[in-house]
Symmetry: C2
Subunit: 145 residues, 2 copies
């Protein structure tokens, strides 16, 4: 199959900018991820479900492999917000996240929510890879106030 038609999508540019071969599956996933230019936070299952719903034919294994490829290429970043699943963020800069306990959703915390006033110091012989900040939220039930 020839993919030229989709090569002009935002996802196509995104892939090309990282030197990744734009296959049909990658283009479909890339467009789902960055098609509208908004930051997205997904699990592999999430993205797989989106792809299926949007009519793309991709296997779950390929979604996993592709997300990993995108991270290796620097297009995305894996974030650790909850022990049970891996989340992937299209915004590769280091920034704080909200984790919504009830839905398992992850969103960006508005800038300025946390200010790291004292830059953390790396212990002797180490370097800081990144500093993760996760604000875990619980929806208040109306009953329990």
């Amino acid at each position: 199959m020839d993919c030229k038609t989709e090569m002009n999508s935002r996802g196509g540019e995104w892939l090309r900018s990282a030197g990744l071969r734009p296959t049909r599956q990658r283009l479909a996933l890339a467009d789902l991820l960055v098609g509208d230019g908004k930051d997205r936070h997904v699990t592999a299952e999430d993205l797989y479900a989106f792809a299926c719903r949007s009519g793309a034919s991709v296997s779950l294994a390929t979604v996993y492999n592709t997300l990993k490829a995108f991270c290796d290429a620097g297009l995305m970043r894996e974030i650790t917000v909850d022990g049970s699943k891996s989340y992937f963020d299209t915004n590769t800069s280091s920034h704080p996240h909200y984790f919504w306990e009830d839905t398992g959703e992850v969103t960006d915390a508005p800038a300025g929510q946390i200010e790291i006033s004292r830059l953390p110091v790396a212990p002797e012989g180490t370097e800081i890879v990144n500093v993760g900040v996760v604000i875990r939220l619980r929806r208040k039930s109306v009953i329990n106030q």
Copy 2:
């Protein structure tokens, strides 16, 4: 088996303070965790290995169940520092952690490493359960400087 002998250990007090029935297994694990009064950060496998090494007879499933029971009782806190495993901290207060990529070890980051100067605001209808801060460290190889 009668457990009175070990009921005077630090682990015994710890269990009693939370109203947990001090079984042989729980006492053994509790002593391993808080026996010396230092904060400890363990995975279930870690604790299981410690227990085996120290001669205690506990099953891995019981270690999992027990760690969960300790968390439910407020004696420990589960922390999310790495996607693949769950870590449990004997220090239940909210504080930043170092995650050592090479060994998978977790330690407390010295106080003052990060200062949360602007208390994060919970979105409408939510409350903040906790704010997790993880400083991911990579050991610098001598070669790559």
